[in-house]
Structures are given as C-alpha cells and as structure tokens.
Symmetry: D3
Subunit: 282 residues, 6 copies
C-alpha cells in the first residue's frame, strides 16, 4: 500500500541522511493583531506541489539533495512558555544529530525557541533578520515573549551588534532608538546586505525571515501587512548573497494563509523556501 | 461638532442611567483550532446598524430602554491570566454600580472572568450554557484556562448541579461522563429548557451563549463549527422562556466574523443580542 | 459563426413568440445598508447553466415553453427617478405587446417601476409580496423611493387591502402599525397563503419576491440578511399554491451575489426562478 | 525525531491491522460546472483535527478501532480512463488484503473506479446512493465517464434494481424516466430508507454519498449546489439505519472546499465521515 | 467606566484643541461600477490599530500632535444632493472653527461637498488630485454629480488651471481633450510634482487623493481597479514634496474594503493617512 | 425590445465587417494544479464594462474599429481531444472568412487548438509566447495534451527556432535543456523583445500570452502563481513593440477569476486585451 508522505516537495529523504531538517512551529497565541500564522507551515507543505523542485535561478534541484521534513508538532496553544520550550527541544534534537534546523512558523515569537537551542550550541551567534517590524519592544501589553518583542529577547541572548536587521519600516520610536544603540538596523530597505555578508564571513549565523518584509502586494497573507516593502526578486537576490555564510539554523515565518484567498502568499513562501534550501546546499 | 458614538444600535444612553452595561472581551489566545473571535464584539457593534431596534417577536424596542455599551477594552493578548483579571475588574465595576454586565466575546474562556466577578457578588450562582461543546476538559494540552475547559473552571466555582447545559453535541467521552455526575446536561438539543426555567425560578442566573450552539448553516462564522445544531428560531423561543428568571449577568461569545464573508453570522449575533437585551427588560 | 446567447437557461425563444419576457433591473442606489444587488440579474443569468431546465417538482421543462430573456438594460445609477422611469418603459413595452413582464432585480425599489406600468394596464391590481422586511416606511433618511419604502409607494397606487405580505420579520414599530391598518400582513411566516390564494382568484396579481424572505442560511447573498426566515422548500410549496392565479407581472429581487462566495444564493435564485416560470405556464 | 502522520483524525493504526482503509481520489477532470473537488480529500484530512474522535450520537470513539488512512495518490488529471484505473487498482489491493476500501473524492465519477474493483470481488453487488443529482445520463457532451453519468455506468455493472437512490432532486427528464425503469429512486427525500435497509439485509452493499444530497445551506462547498436538500441530522439518522448491512465498500465525494471559505462544508464532511466509520464498526 | 473611543489611532484629542479634524463621508450612491466605498472610512478607523502612531519615514509621531476624529455622520444614501449638502455643512463648521477638514471617503463625488465649503472660505483655491481616472465627464448616464464627474464640477468652481492632476490613466477621449485645455494633467505618472509644488507655493490648496491612483497590486480594494498605477513608496515620496504648501483641506477616498479580504488595501489607506497627517503638521 | 449583447466592451460590430474575431475557450480539464480557467473568458467579457474603450497609452478607441466577439462555445469538458478539435474548427472558420482569430482561454492547452488551425493556413508560422512556465514537457502524468506540454506540442508543428519564449521562470530542468536546443527562450524577463521583433518582421506570427507571466501581485487570479514576474506596464510596453508584426492569430489565457475576489486580475486581463486589440489595428 503506497502511503502519501507529508513533506515539502522534494524534501522526503530519510531523517538519517538529511543535512537540513524542516519542522513546523504552528503557534500564534501572542499575535497582537490578526492571528492565523498557526496554519502557515501546513499550508506551505500542502501547496508546495504547485511549484517545481528545480530552480532556474540557481540551476539546482531539490531532488539532488537530502532534506527531511518532519511535519508539524502539536504545540501548546495558549501558553507561550511551554510552546517555546517544545520548539527548543525539537531544534536541540536536530542540532544534536549534527543537522541544521529549518523552522516554518508560526508567528515570529517562535524564533526565540529555535535561537535558544542554536545559541546553546553556538555561543557566538549572529542573527540576520528580514522583517517589516523591528520586534524590539521590551514588552507588549505586559507580555515579554510576544512576537513584537522577539528580537529584543534574542538580543538578550546574543548581545550588542550581533543582530543585523533589514527592511524594517515599522515600530515605536523607542524601538528605533534601541536599534541605533544595540543592533545593526537597515531601515526601509536591504541596502547593507553586502557589507553584512562581508562582516559575517566565518561566523555562525541564524537566518530569520519574517516574510512581511515583502511588500504586501506580493505577500498579503500576513497578520500586520505593512506597505512599502521589498519586491520578491529583490529579496531573492539578497538571499543569494548569503550563500558563503555558515548558516547554522534558519526560519521563515508570519505566513497567515487565510488572509490571502488567492494562495499567492503561500506560493511565494514555497518558492522562497525552495530557494533558501537550495542556497544552503553547497 | 456631532461625534459618532461607538455602541450597539439603540444602546447609547448615559452610563449612570443604564440597567444593563455591554462591554466587549476581544480575546482568543487559547483558541484551540481557528482563532479570530477577538474581532467578534467589534463586528457586532459595527454591523448592528443593519438591523432594527424594534422586535416584532416581543413587540419591544431598544429605544424604550436604558442600555449602555462601553465598547471594547484593550485586553492582554497572549496571557490568559491577565486578560481574565481585566475582564473580572470590568464586570466587578459594573456590578458594584448596581448594573447587570453583558459581555460580548471573544472566545468562550472570557466567561470565566465575568463569572468570577458575578460569583463574588452572588454566592449561590447558577449558570445556563448554550453550546455545541461541553467545555468540560480539565486541561487542553496542559492549559487550564483554555476555552475548552471554561465550564470545568466555572464548575469549580459554582459546584455540582449548578450548571445547566443545552445543545451539547461534541466533546471527549470523559467530558460526557463528567457531565453525567456534575452538571445538568441536555445532549444535542434544547428539550429540557422548561424544566430548567422552572427549577431556576428565584435563583441568581448567569447566562452564557456560545453561539456555535446554532447550526453552522446559520452561524458559520465560528472557530469550530459543529454540524447538527439548533435553528435560530428554536434558540430564540428558548431564550424567551428565560424571561421570568433573575439573570444577573450574561454573555454571548465565539463569533469569529472573518470566517463568514457573507456577514450572516454577525447579523445573527446582532439579532440574538437585541432579543436577549429586550427579553431582560421587564 | 455560432454566437453565444445571453439568456437565462432555456429562455431563448424569439421575442415575438414569448408569453413571458424576462428583463434585468441592475439598480441599487438607494440600498440603505450593503449595496451590490445591481449584479444580481447578471449573476442569475450566468450561473443558470449550473441547473437543469427540467423540474422534478412540477414535471415540466423550460424547453417546452416560450420564454424570452432580453438581458440587462443600462439603468441610471445614482438617480432613482430616472431609473424607475426606464424600468417602467420596458415593462410597459412588454405589456403593450401582450406579454407578461418578469423582472430580475436589483434592489426592491425597482418593483415600483414595474408596478407603475402594470397598474396603468390593470387598474384593480393586487400585490403578493414575500419579504423579510415590511418596506412600509414613508421615507428613509428623507428618500421617498428607497427600497425600504417600496411597498408604501405601491400601496399609494393600489390602495388598502390590495397588498398581501408574507414572511415579514423586520421593520420599525410604525411599519407594523401601518400594515395592521392598510395591508394584509402575515408576520414571520407564510401561513395565510391558502386564504390569500382563495381571495385572489380571478384578480390581477403582481408577484414580488424579495428573496431575503428566505432564511439567510440558504440565501446569505443579500444586503440585509435577517435570521429566522423560511426554508427553500417551504417557499417553493407556497409558490406552487399560486398557480391558479392570474399573475400579470412578477419579479424576484435583492440577490447580491458577491456576499456569497459559495454561489449558493445565486443557485437558489436560479432554481426559484425556474420554478416560478414553470408555475406560470399552464 | 517525531514525525507528523498524514491521516484523518484517529485513523492512524498500522495498515496490517486495519479493517477499513481510507484513501483519497483527488480527481475532477470531468466536472461539468465548477471544478475543485480534487482538493476535497486533502481538506477533510487536514481539517479533521477540528472535531473530536468521540461520537456522542453513537457513544463510540475512533480511537477504539483500527482504521488506516493511506492519504492521497497522485491521479492522472486530464485523463479519466487512466485515473479510474488507478483508483480501481488501489481499491483492488485493499480488497485483496481482506479490508474494506473507503474512498474520499474527488468528483462522483471516481465511484466508478472503486465499484469496478468491488464488483469484481462481489458479483451480486447493490449500491446505495445519496445524491442531489440522478447521475444517470448516458453521456455528457459526449463524455461517457463524466460525473453526471456515473450511476448509469454503475448500472451497466450491477444491473436493474440494484441501485437505491435517495434525495435525488435534479436531472434531465430522461434520467427520471430511466430511473423509473431501472433503479429504485426516492425522489427529493430519504423516505424509503427503512424499506431499503430491510431489502438489502444480507446483501453486499456499496455505499456512495455525494454530499450535495445535503442542503446547500449546510454544505455550500460543492460544484453544483442544489437547493431543497436534506438536513445534516436527517442524513445522520438515515446513515445509522444502515448499520446492520454488509457494507463492502464506501465513499463520500463532491466536497469542493474552496467554495466555502467558512470551512463548514469540510467540517460537515469530517463529522459525517467519523459517523460512517463508527457506524461500520461492530 | 472606561469607554472605547471611536477614532483613528492617535487622533483622539479634544475637538477644541485640534488643528485638523477628520470626518467620514460614507457615501457611494453614484458609483458607476462596483459600490462599497461607504464602508471605507469605518474600515480605516477600525483597522488603524494594526499600524503604529510613529513614522520612521518622517520621524514624527501622531501622539505628539492634536488631531481629532469625529467619526462618520449618517449621510443620505440615495440622494446625492442632500448628501453633498450634509458634507458641506460639516466641512463648513470645521472651517468656521479655524480648523482644517480632513475627509475620509466614500466615493470620489464626496470631494465636491468639501470643496464647496473650502471654496467659500478660500476663493482662489487650487486642487491637487491624485487619481487613476480623470473624473472630468460632464455627466454619467445623465447624472451630473457622479463620482465620474467630480473634477469637472470642481473645475466649475475653481476655474481653468487651478486643478493639478496626477497619475491619470483612464478616461474617455473627451476627458483628455478637456484636460488639455482646462487642467494641468500629468498622464500616467507623477512626474510633474516638483513643478507643481513650486507653482503652488503660497496658494491655498485642497488635496484630494483617489487611492486608486495606486497600482491595484497594492490597492485592490476599490471599485474600478486600473492597472499600471504608482507604487506606494512613490506616492509617499510625492506626498512629502507637498509639505511646504498651505493645504487648507484634504481627503482620501475610494477605498472599498470588502473587495480586498486580505485587508491590505485598508492597511495601505491607514498608513497613507498617518503619513499625510504627519506631513501636514509643522 | 432592446436586447443586451454579450460581447467585450466596444467589440459588437457585425461579424461580416470584423477584421478580428474574439471567441472564448472555456476549458481547463488538464489543469495540473488549481482548476478554474474555464470561467476566464466569461469574466473578461462581463467585467469589461469597468474599463473604458479609449486607451490613453495608444490614443486609440475600440469604438473606432470593427471587432466582433462571438462569446463562448460549449466545449467538451473532460475530453481534451474533442475540445481541441472544437477550438480548431472555430478558428478555422474565422480564418477561412479572412479574419484574425483572437481566443480568450481557458487554460493554456487551448492554444494548441488555435495553432493547429492557424498553422494549416500559414505553414511557416512563428509563435511568441509570454509565460511564467516553459510548458515544454513531453507529457504530464502521461497526458500529452496537458497545459504543461502545450508549447512542446506546438513545437512539433512549427519546428526548431520558431517559438520565442519570454518571462519563463519555472519548469523542470529538462524543459530548460529542451529550450536551449529548440526554442528561443528568454529566461526570467522580457529583455530580448526588440531583437525578436526585428527577426520576426514580415513573418506570420501567432501571439500567445499566458497571463501568469505577470507578477502574481498584479495577477493573482491564476492556477499556478509564480513569484518574480513582470510588471503590468512592462508587459504593455513590450506588447507595443510588436505592432509592426504580422500577427495572424492571438490568445490570452490562464485567468482563473475565482482565485482573486478583488476582481483585479480580471480587470488586468480586460485592460491587456483592449491594448492588444488596439495594437493590432493599424
């Protein structure tokens, strides 16, 4: 009896052989505005059969590499502490097995779970963040682990100058002040990417992409769409510039598929994921 | 300068004169399946101008009574304990002013906040619950204050035989066993309502209506639609049978307007709210 | 070169042979709440190919009769007086040719245009109205020809006791008072239909169906959905009871297809239209 | 590494232990009107986590039985002959292993593939069909294996008097004539079910449920919604009356989830599937 | 009892202190194609809580200024003359109080009401219009005050050379001929903005932005989307170039939120509004 | 009696006078992923009244030319061979009458039907294809006439070097290899258009535009949206560069209107069609 596998297209090798392991983080309990990213990872997997495994951009094919997708765990909706611990445990297991974790959010807060695990293995960790929002609040209505605070929490782990932010175009005045002192923020666009890629050569890097960095015209399926974003091709080219880096963990997040009945946002996430996965392979 | 008031249609008297005070509870962080009820109260208020203030069912008009709608507070998304405390505080203030609180959810967990306040004032409190789901789990993935556990938590307050459940058609086997011992459950339909109304005469009653008790054909805009529900007219007639009771607090909840692009679910909630408000007035 | 005809399914005979002539009235400028009925007639025509021409209810087939559909005229959006005159002219032309006009709304106000024409030909005219709303206001925000006033305007033409209203479940208190004195109103349901059919035998009757008389569970695609309506089969059986009457004009109205992405409301309108058309044929 | 299983809720036993084997038939190439049922089986599986495994109707729980869900095969879109052969092969394998196939459509034409396999094993086969449409055309625009012809094709296999049809309310005049001579058709409703259950005792029965037999108010997510259908509870009670029969194969079909953005249709299909699966278990 | 205020985010000072007063103009009765802009102002207000009060573009914060939002008046749907008079009265009251009116449409025709009031105070008035459509027809199907004619009507007030049009890419041939003689039209794009800003220095300027000037990829929620529009950032930068001008009144219009279920169009309108409000503050 | 014509705006001359004849090809049975293009041509026609007949880009007006739109034929859903033959017959009739066929898809496979007819008349035929996908597979799951194979089938007719491909950004590795040897492919963008226009001067050219060549931000309404596409203005300018060519047949295809509830994709298709029709006229 042939059984359907539940994996992103072309990512169905055996776990043991995989270098990169995909897992979902279907969690959105702290979402401040419009919830729904809990359905993001499932949608990416399910709609991935609308794209090809081959990339004409990189002339590479997912079928030529060993990538494993373990699907979605059942996370504890309603309790961010428990959920983040669950995520950390999964990432830690993957890291312990000598593989690279690649997480599919969920809201951006899930990054904290994965970074916790990665940071325990790689003490001198750098983070590259693509995002429309600074995510540097100290708390959001009293909640410390809100998705609006995730990079602030990460900064508490990795320290000053270790977070590179790109595409930021929304936040409170205080967040921009904080960034001026503690992070390397590139406001509005992606200009500083070559410089960052140069500085980060040889470092251990965690890559987190809040897909709302994209212009909402191409990525409307997200909780807090923020006009004035980057184009898809622009983001793709920027991602390709990271291919020499030592990326030890990664995630893409904040797809909320139900806000985009056309399915374009999900298709964009699928294509972006394919390109990053292929970029990571040497 | 004339200023638009933000209130349910016909509920714009001064606070001091009001007997019933409406407030929103825009919270859905523990929603187990599809979130979105945080937008319920706002939608009810905004769409209420599609219905009339007059009820041909009861031959009463909202314009003839003093009802006040205070709008939505900003609740702490992501932290159920804080949010429930905020709700309790609002309800307590209304009760302290000698008025009846009428809450618009939000997910069903918010009922716990209001019941906490009402129970502090009325020790021997009875609850009438209309719902598709038993909501009697002890926890949901470890979360105790989940919307799937709200009646269990209420039971801990009001005790055996104090909760009357109607329309229940979904739950774990354990919940139905629990109900058999501790609550007065009417499975599937609304049959026992006359008996309940008889038994509860003279008692202090809190009325909570999870609107998913309605058949999803007429109320699709909810997180966990459950087929086999009651018709709108059936629910209306049942509600009218409660008019002799001493209802000291009430809520309607679990409208998730974005799941119903036709707006019918919101219109149903508006009409139901009008009818209950009128039923409460002598 | 074969050319596609723009007509309701099975209604593509030549104009000269037709007994019944269908035309659209794509107008909604006075709609008080949610506009969009201007797209109703077009949707009915376009989606009619999802149903059959044969009715198993009546064992009749549209293909066996001569019915002509002239499509939609371009009505004057933004000026209700001009639009009603355009409608009256079309109906008058059909009547002058000895045929029966069957109008597809559009909002309910368009009925006034058709009734103007029919009443000029048949002085002692009776109207049967199926509707959720009384439509008996004298004006709506100062507008006399609003869809909320259409039966009041018709009453000014046909006089006391000449309007039979069914299914009415919404209105201001004043409208219900007016009805008690001037029309034959059946509140909430369709009970009085046999009596009406008896009384109207031999009279000239205009039939107007505001499809929001149906429960919004089956007909969500309308501007002001009103819960507690009649079921489809109930309406069908009621319509069949009119088959002995002398119906000299008819319309169905208030479909707003964009509010129902499932297309069910439009399919319901198509089936209802087929059944009425067949009922009218001897 | 824990891996997410791709199965209907509670249907994740090992294949070897299963008595009933679920598989998808994601095919809709012959759909005459609005396509999209190819996404039906996937949606049912994915949304099944919104319902419980326990049925308060039957007091049974999916967790207490051995049911296996193999997921969706990749069928040949665009070629109905190939696709039906693929389906027949899967059903034949399940039957050869001594298990009962339970297929999730797809459009109704897929039933022919499964019935082909079942009929090869059980020569004297009876079919119970719930459906809004007769599906008895000899061809549709020249296509013989269209979903509009599927019961005609099945009749060619099983012969006169072997097909019991329920809920039929749409078709060409010719189909109703054909039914009068060759099948046991119950027009419009479900009345003859007790008689059928009596007659079919001890026979081998294939059960096929085109879910558009339900009223479109509760099941709008289908290609050709047909008003005047049966209520959910009505269908449920009817299904329960089949529990003494020897059902050797079954399917549910014609869910087109994208036409119902509320998700109610999919939730209805999930609940119906749970109840049938439990009904089949002794 | 804390009461929710019904205002655009950060615009809740007291009326007396305000320099700019926002009001809605929920009117769309003359909309030629797809109605729905009557819901635009309400949506902007309600969704404004998805953006921040701080602008990283201008390094300004709404919280630092006094802006008052009076909400939506109830305009006379169905009668454009009455509605425009209502709008004029509101704008006149604001102007009489020495404040600047900022109107949220509604369809573009509402601009005529506001310009009527502004022109009575500032006789030598200039208008800057951003729009996809010329709006220069003399009438539309006989209606003079249609949204398709609004700039023609404004031209009758302010005269030759006093209207600067940008982004125009749709109209009848006659409208473009009219523009060549009577207005300063910049076809397709925004090129002439510096020149215009130079010429208008020291003049009294009314700014009207039909948001369909934006490309429909970023602003799909409008009645007549017109491909080939300007990008969001492009429009923002253009708006910033007006900051030295003496803008005595302004509006944004033609958001029809229901056509964009993703909510992006409304979010775009919110962000645009914030940026214009901040640009107006010295 | 005035009768509504069923034609694209401004394309309602008599057949005999027409130089260009539009017809629909409502077929999508081989669509590999998300079906629905069968509704494309009807939507284009119906929504065309949202745009003007005049083009400010070309300063031309459809009303000044003779173009005929015959509407949609009823194609054989479920059988690609029959459907393609039907299409070929229609195109052949138009060609035999000395007119240019302009087909509105439908999925891309329909191009084969039209090219079959055109190629029989013009043996040395060149094809210009705008598309996101190469469409050069030899088969798709065994189906040879799938929309994923259409240019491969066309290549079998017209031969090496006769197909110019633009905007291609998706396919299997094998398709790109095939293109390198047999077609003139311009990957990702539209750069080679001037060169192509030069080379094709004086040749007989068939123009086929799969509208998914556009970026999905502006054209989300299609079955397999592929990020990284061209902008609308870019495509328009490219199309204008073809105006000196001898275009003997043309089509636009792959609009699936139901995936874009905003209607923007359909509006884009309408505007594109208008501009191509005007470009074709000398």
């Amino acid at each position: 009896m042939q059984i359907e596998r539940n994996a992103f297209i072309g990512c169905d090798c055996e776990y043991e052989q995989a270098k990169t392991v995909i897992f979902g983080a279907p969690f959105d309990s702290t979402t401040s505005y419009r919830p729904g990213t809990r359905f993001g990872s499932k949608a990416i997997r399910s709609e991935s059969f609308g794209i090809e495994t081959y990339s004409p951009y990189q002339d590479k094919d997912l079928l030529d590499y060993n990538i494993f997708d373990s699907g979605d765990p059942e996370l504890c909706i309603g309790n961010v502490d428990t959920a983040l611990q669950q995520i950390e445990d999964i990432a830690a297991e993957i890291l312990a097995d000598g593989k690279r974790p690649f997480m599919l959010g969920g809201e951006h807060s899930v990054t904290l779970g994965a970074v916790n695990a990665v940071h325990k293995k790689y003490k001198d960790l750098y983070i590259i963040q693509f995002d429309a929002h600074a995510d540097l609040r100290d708390d959001y209505l009293g909640v410390k682990k809100s998705h609006a605070c995730v990079m602030r929490r990460c900064w508490e782990l990795v320290g000053d100058g270790h977070i590179y932010q790109f595409g930021i175009r929304s936040g409170e005045r205080e967040e921009f002040k904080f960034a001026a002192e503690h992070t390397k923020m590139n406001k509005l666009g992606l200009d500083g990417i070559e410089k960052a890629a140069e500085e980060l050569k040889g470092k251990n890097v965690y890559l987190t992409i809040d897909m709302d960095v994209l212009d909402p015209s191409i990525f409307p399926g997200t909780g807090t769409p923020e006009a004035g974003g980057v184009q898809f091709t622009e983001l793709l080219e920027t991602v390709f510039k990271l291919k020499e880096l030592n990326i030890v963990g990664a995630d893409i997040n904040e797809l909320s598929p139900q806000y985009d009945p056309s399915g374009v946002s999900t298709a964009v996430a699928c294509k972006l994921l394919r390109e990053i996965l292929l970029m990571l392979e040497k």
